[in-house]
């Protein structure tokens, strides 16, 4: 019997009957793996030899001086193989797939990070791999599609609905319903039906476990505040899980404020009036939906935060006021990114830059002996096309135009 996976009033497993048996199997496999200490060790070993774990914590000395308030530290998930915290979850689920004896993996992807990470894992473990990606995202994230295909994955462009992340998730479930005997669905974030929120959090908790030890060593104390961006919520759950029991540590989740919370064009579920509790994609949480319960379109400069729902675990932590939620607008995010690159020589992804933006708003108002920790969930340099567009960089545009002309002349 499936355990229902509730966090307060959020979560659950709202599944069509056709998926129930699959989820029971997954839940059992995950429970067994979790109970086996060798499994976690195997995971840590894999991540230290194939990715860059433990990722370091960096003291941002120049930013600290710039703001003149709290000491700023950065947890460097950008240094993972494939460039983001996504690798943690994916490699962990990959080990679980091996234990379950399945041969094929499928995944949804928005920006393409999770798709690239899954295709990488599939290449390493020799799994067949299909990635579902909204047609809009395929069009704007070509470099990631390129790598997924090089890595051997089939990328399916989803033409239904808003043709973005949520539609890719629906399509992945549709695939899974008919292929569950051979296939595992590598859900990319701490959302979806039980056991995904708890399972993804379990693998991502490696971030928080490391970070707690590292910050105590580097700063001599626990941080006063920890900042993480929140799309589905996996990097936030990863780092927060290291500090949940330390009630003196303030946890701050930063959502996509898009063009402003009043504009209707954002993806803020836990800090805006526009969201309400609903049930979709198999779980109960806050969704950006209309009065009939139909999902609305969302907007963010960061594709990875552009999603209608949010982890049910975070919805509960918000309700219990253990995590405070804020929003950063596209403009604030681009400014924070530019400043971080300039001051520290570190290039955060647009998603991660939301956490930086909020931390920068608060750091100057904190005393000099205060310590804040920002989770840099991913690196931005490989998203050069997106970031150059966000900066509206004129010489980049010229370069692309010249490149296009050269291709045209050559063909």
């Amino acid at each position: 019997m499936l355990e229902r996976g509730y966090y307060g009033q959020f979560g659950g497993a709202f599944l069509p009957e056709a998926l129930v048996a699959t989820f029971e199997e997954l839940e059992a496999a995950f429970r067994q793996a979790k109970a086996d200490p060798a499994f976690w060790q195997e995971y840590v070993d894999l991540m230290s030899s194939y990715s860059c774990r433990p990722t370091p914590v960096t003291y941002a000395e120049n930013l600290t001086r710039h703001f003149g308030g709290a000491r700023i530290y950065i947890k460097r998930e950008d240094l993972n193989h494939t460039g983001a915290h996504k690798a943690n979850n994916v490699m962990g689920q990959g080990l679980l797939v091996k234990r379950m004896g399945k041969r094929r993996v499928i995944a949804e992807t928005g920006a393409g990070q999770h798709g690239v990470a899954t295709a990488t894992m599939a290449a390493k473990f020799g799994f067949e791999c299909t990635i579902y990606m909204g047609q809009v995202d395929v069009a704007r994230q070509r470099p990631n599609v390129f790598w997924m295909e090089r890595l051997g994955a089939t990328v399916v462009s989803v033409r239904e609905g808003s043709r973005t992340l949520k539609d890719a998730i629906n399509e992945a479930f549709r695939d899974w319903v008919s292929t569950m005997d051979t296939t595992h669905y590598v859900l990319g974030t701490a959302c979806g039906p039980h056991p995904f929120p708890t399972m993804v959090t379990y693998f991502q908790s490696i971030v928080g476990r490391e970070a707690r030890q590292q910050i105590v060593k580097a700063a001599g104390k626990l941080p006063d505040r920890v900042y993480a961006c929140v799309g589905g919520g996996s990097n936030a759950m990863g780092i927060f899980s290291g500090f949940l029991d330390d009630t003196e540590v303030g946890l701050v989740g930063v959502e996509a404020g898009g063009r402003g919370l009043q504009s209707g064009q954002h993806a803020a579920r836990l800090c805006s009036e526009d969201a309400s509790i609903g049930v979709a994609q198999g779980y109960k949480t806050y969704f950006l939906q209309d009065r009939d319960g139909q999902m609305n379109e969302t907007h963010s400069v960061a594709a990875g935060l552009d999603y209608v729902g949010v982890s049910p675990i975070l919805a509960d932590l918000a309700e219990r006021r253990r995590v405070r939620f804020e929003a950063a607008t596209d403009r604030e995010v681009i400014d924070a990114l530019a400043l971080t690159v300039r001051k520290e020589g570190i290039i955060p992804a647009l998603e991660s830059s939301h956490a930086f933006a909020q931390a920068f708003k608060e750091a100057p108002h904190l005393p000099k002996d205060a310590v804040i920790l920002i989770n840099q969930s991913g690196r931005g340099d490989k998203d050069i096309f997106t970031i150059a567009d966000a900066f509206e960089d004129p010489s980049w545009k010229e370069f692309i135009i010249a490149k296009a002309e050269a291709y045209r002349a050559g063909s």
Partner: protein, 252 residues
């Protein structure tokens, strides 16, 4: 009562036909005309789907119809309104089919009352397993609406038994794993249908992939009801409303 109505109709027929439409697809006027054609074609029961933006259990044809209906301005209010007219106008049993969020956001008590007022006999809520369903199921029971549950080939016997404890009216048997609207091997069904029969005394409706006279013939005598879902939508899309009645009449 839905079950009694099914048994009464079944006395004159070898097998009953249940069809599926998405309310508001392609528009509400066509929905009404479609239902009329279906009733003229002798359809015994009908599922009326209230469209939802994330229909995870539906295949591409019905998914597309959901999205078109919403884009065309289908709201829950308009679906309830049309349904009230349909149930007064046509002497067959209607069921709602939808996803849980539609009921949840509206409030399960209000939604159950509105379903009853609209005159349907029950509802299939595609993403609501009984474990999550208590508040809605209780509200439906107060309104004497039958909750229709689904069996699939992957449902284990113990689970079928637990579903059967809560099911009323009929049990919907998915003919195969997978979403609505693709192919099924009807010959391999016997063992599965025996398990379904063993789990419940309710009439069985077999759906997913029924699209031709041979399919209906193959399951006649094995289940009480054949469900024709995606295929009617395909016929509508290719031949218009007029093509639906001849298609349905050709099935049995």
């Amino acid at each position: 009562m839905l079950e009694a109505e099914i048994r009464r109709r079944k006395r004159d027929r070898d097998i009953l036909l249940m069809t599926h439409i998405v309310l508001g697809y392609p528009d509400f006027d066509t929905s009404r005309r479609l239902v009329e054609q279906m009733v003229l074609a002798g359809v015994d029961l009908m599922e009326l789907q209230i469209p939802f933006s994330e229909p995870m259990a539906d295949g591409p044809v019905i998914l597309h119809a959901n999205q078109k209906a919403l884009a065309g301005g289908a709201t829950v209010d308009r679906c309830l309104e049309l349904t009230s007219r349909l149930t007064r106008e046509f002497p067959i049993s209607f069921l709602f089919m939808t996803y849980f969020n539609i009921a949840f956001v509206r409030g399960v008590d209000l939604f159950a009352r509105e379903m009853a007022q609209a005159g349907v006999r029950g509802a299939i809520v595609a993403d609501l397993p009984f474990e999550e369903g208590e508040p809605l199921l209780a509200a439906m029971e107060r309104e004497q609406l039958d909750p229709i549950f689904v069996f699939t080939p992957s449902s284990r016997p113990e689970r079928m038994a637990r579903i059967a404890e809560r099911a009323k009216g009929l049990v919907y048997c998915a003919a195969r794993k997978g979403v609505t609207g693709s192919a099924t091997d009807f010959d391999a069904l016997d063992g599965y249908l025996q398990r379904c029969r063993g789990a419940t005394d309710l009439p069985l409706a077999l759906g997913f992939g029924v699209k031709a006279r041979e399919d209906v013939a193959a399951i006649t005598g094995k289940v009480e009801i054949a469900v024709v879902g995606s295929e009617t939508i395909r016929v509508l899309e290719q031949g218009g409303v007029e093509a639906v009645r001849p298609f349905l009449e050709s099935l049995r």
